[in-house]
């Protein structure tokens, strides 16, 4: 049972990056289009989630760190948008498009990380190669950030406003990562 999205195709890293970027921009657009506009009444409920600016530890190469953080963040975003108790006021088609898009993004990121891994083996689960050797504390900032979002949703009992705010936040997150990756690429 070929279960994991294994690296059957090992892609050229640059073209992978290009595709990743394209998918992320697509997802940003999808997220934007999910609802017509941000409802004004939700503005007062908006909360500062404090996206962690320093999610990068200094142990590994900067590029890999960002990719890893982006991967984890995409995973969280995917998790948020695929929850069963998900009952927002968005259209079903939009939602499924976002899910598919996020899945794409995740797959590309997984492949990216696998490309960077030295001594990449074809056998075995690819996920094992994604084991980050940076201390787990480096991931805590990101986890705390998502914990805040998660708790916000729970506290607001997943009201439509809460979803809108969370959607906005995910967009900001993706945008942040896109810019960060672009900055690294220019170095």
């Amino acid at each position: 049972m070929g279960l994991f999205i294994t690296g059957i195709l090992s892609l050229d890293y640059n073209s992978l990056n290009v595709r990743l970027r394209r998918v992320t921009w697509q997802n940003l657009r999808l997220l934007r289009r999910m609802s017509n506009s941000f409802p004004i009444e939700c503005l007062q409920e908006s909360k500062a989630f404090e996206l962690p600016q320093e999610i990068l530890s200094h142990s590994q190469s900067l590029k890999r760190n960002i990719k890893e953080a982006f991967y984890k963040m995409s995973r969280q975003a995917f998790h948020i948008f695929t929850q069963d108790t998900f009952k927002p006021t968005w259209e079903e088609t939009h939602l499924s498009q976002v899910q598919v898009g996020l899945d794409h993004q995740l797959r590309y990121l997984e492949q990216c990380l696998e490309e960077e891994e030295d001594g990449n083996e074809d056998t075995g689960e690819r996920e094992e190669t994604l084991r980050s050797s940076s201390p787990p504390a480096g991931n805590l900032e990101l986890r705390r950030y998502f914990n805040r979002i998660d708790r916000f949703l729970k506290d607001k009992k997943r009201s439509p406003c809460a979803w809108e705010i969370v959607r906005m936040e995910i967009r900001r997150c993706f945008y942040f990562f896109q810019k960060l990756t672009a900055l690294l690429r220019r170095r």
């Binding site: 059957i8 073209s15 995917f78 998790h79 689960e125 787990p136 998502f146 914990n147």
Partner: protein
């Protein structure tokens, strides 16, 4: 100044006293301990966290049972607000469960302290090393629900912790599950598989008791959980309607062809598809499988559906058979990648001979493949086969570039090339068919050819040079052997006034010098009136009479006139 000194002294005194007292306290405690009296302090305090369950364990420093109770406090690191740890207040046992603590955030560092109490005596606090609950937590056993078919078992695994788990709130989708399954009769034949939360274990035998256990892992954090308890279940008897087998999906231009095997006739089939990522999400997805439109109630073992029904991604497909006797179980779920199912067209090769020992190869895409997504999505590499036309020895090369050269070839020989395109590192070894064979002859000649070329070039360059040199030479020769009789032009100027014959005539006359007296002014003034020109001549003459007489011919005519007049005057 004095005040500050006093204050300092006071402070020092206070410190001293404090030290004494604490020393006394510890001393008394030691003494008490030595004395065997109570005031025990907890030792070896450990924290165990499994999912959302928090346990505290410690050892009592005394073996004898007394009325000793323990209490614990906690606080978030950094704040100064010790709170009572629920479930660990005044407990007589050496462990407690404080799962009811409402931690808002399991990613923050927590401090714990615990002490022993006996009556009114309390020990000092034992402070536990601050920790992050999330990092200390262990993954507990997942919850498993089983359903049996005849040749498969359907698994429904719930992630560790409850649905409202605060520990794994951000990781629920990240768990990977590992199943160990064996036949109850012989535990030697164990099989370990990695499964999704909603999955099936296939290739089992009917009417056999299978036992399994499941554990959850978080691979990214290198964390492995505890195994669940062992569950056993019997597979059902063989179903009278078998499931389709050997599902295959192939791409054919703009459609996908789904094929399967089935042993019996007179059966209708239907096929369903599911987006692959749904399998990562725990919970029942039975509602998420969708019918493939062209594959509903088909009576053949194949169906065709358009490619654009499925945008890019990964999907699962399953097929079910039904006839008069009933409906089969679903077949094995076949995973397919849309991108993989594209046809790779053979490349187009062109061969050029540049020098006598190399051939340049250009690999291009055929027109049909220009529009497909394969080239855009995945870079191709080319397997190039290269041989001499006359021999059979083939050279196989894998090339990533589309322009490359074969070197060290023999001149004036025909070589042939053919190639096919592959997807790089493709485990399935998917490739196109071979392109047409293209042959080309290498250029002729070895060093003589280059010499010839060089010779021609130099000859071409040297011709104008040679012409120029020859011209110079001829001029020299002409100058030396055939001089021109014409005098140089500068001499001509002087002879232009007097023709040659005057010279000849004038030489017959005698050339005499005339001397003239110029002091007699009266004579001169008389002549002056008549002939001004004569005076000039006179002066001229007197001057020239002192000369050698080269230019005397000019003066002769004028001189003769003046001489006649003087002779006339002298005679008077």
């Amino acid at each position: 100044m004095v005040q500050s000194v006093k204050r300092k002294q006071g402070w020092h005194l206070l410190q001293c006293l404090r030290k004494v007292f604490s020393w006394r306290a510890s001393l008394s405690w030691v003494l008490e301990g030595l004395g065997g009296e109570a005031n025990l302090k907890p030792e070896n305090v450990e924290i165990h966290i499994i999912d959302d369950n928090f346990f505290l364990k410690w050892n009592s420093s005394s073996e004898s049972v007394r009325n000793v109770t323990f209490s614990a406090d906690y606080q978030i690191l950094g704040t100064d607000n010790w709170k009572k740890l629920p479930g660990c207040q005044n407990t007589t046992s050496t462990n407690c469960n404080f799962s009811s603590v409402e931690l808002k955030n399991v990613f923050e560092k927590i401090e714990l302290r615990i002490r022993a109490e006996e009556g009114n005596n309390t020990s000092i606090w034992y402070e536990v090393e601050p920790f992050v609950p999330f990092l200390e937590a262990q993954i507990g056993p997942p919850d498993v629900h089983l359903e049996a078919e005849d040749k498969a078992i359907i698994l429904s695994i719930s992630p560790p912790g409850t649905e409202d788990s605060i520990m794994w709130a951000t990781d629920r989708l990240n768990f990977r599950y590992s199943v160990v399954i064996w036949k109850n009769s012989s535990s030697l034949e164990e099989r370990t598989e990695t499964v999704f939360p909603e999955d099936k274990i296939y290739k089992l035998s009917p009417e056999i008791t299978y036992c399994l256990k499941v554990k959850a892992e978080l691979p990214l954090q290198s964390r492995v959980g505890y195994y669940s308890p062992v569950y056993c279940i019997n597979t059902t008897e063989r179903h009278n309607v078998p499931s389709p087998e050997n599902i295959q999906i192939n791409a054919d231009n703009q459609v996908f062809v789904l094929k399967w095997d089935y042993p019996y006739e007179n059966t209708t089939f239907r096929a369903q598809w599911l987006r692959a990522f749904f399998k990562k999400i725990p919970g029942k997805h039975s509602g998420k499988w969708k019918q493939i439109l062209n594959c509903e109630n088909v009576t053949t073992t194949r169906c065709v559906f358009p490619r654009n029904a499925f945008p890019s991604g990964i999907y699962y497909v399953r097929v079910q058979a039904s006839n008069g006797n009933g409906t089969s179980f679903w077949s094995e779920e076949k995973k397919f990648y849309i991108e993989m199912k594209t046809v790779i067209f053979p490349p187009v090769i062109s061969l050029k001979s540049i020098t006598d020992d190399s051939l340049h190869v250009s690999v291009g895409a055929s027109e049909e493949s220009e529009n497909t997504s394969v080239n855009q999505l995945y870079p191709l590499i080319y397997e190039v086969i290269f041989w001499e036309n006359t021999s059979n020895a083939e050279r196989k090369v894998l090339e990533k570039r589309t322009e490359f050269t074969f070197l060290d070839l023999k001149p004036l020989t025909v070589y042939c090339v053919k190639a096919r395109a592959l997807i790089e590192n493709d485990r399935r070894n998917k490739s196109s068919s071979f392109s047409d064979t293209v042959c080309e002859k290498t250029k002729p000649g070895d060093t003589s050819k280059t010499w010839l070329k060089a010779g021609i070039c130099t000859a071409l360059f040297s011709i104008p040079v040679v012409i120029y040199v020859v011209r110079l030479f001829l001029r020299c020769v002409n100058y030396v052997f055939f001089p021109s009789s014409k005098p140089p032009s500068s001499v001509d100027e002087y002879f232009s006034d007097q023709p040659l014959k005057n010279l000849l005539l004038s030489t017959s006359e005698e050339q005499t010098e005339r001397c003239f007296i110029i002091e007699n002014a009266s004579i001169i003034t008389e002549i002056e009136e008549t002939n001004e020109i004569d005076e000039v001549h006179k002066k001229y003459n007197s001057q020239t009479s002192q000369d050698s007489g080269n230019y005397s011919n000019e003066d002769e005519n004028s001189g003769s006139k003046i001489s006649e007049e003087f002779l006339q005057q002298d005679s008077v």
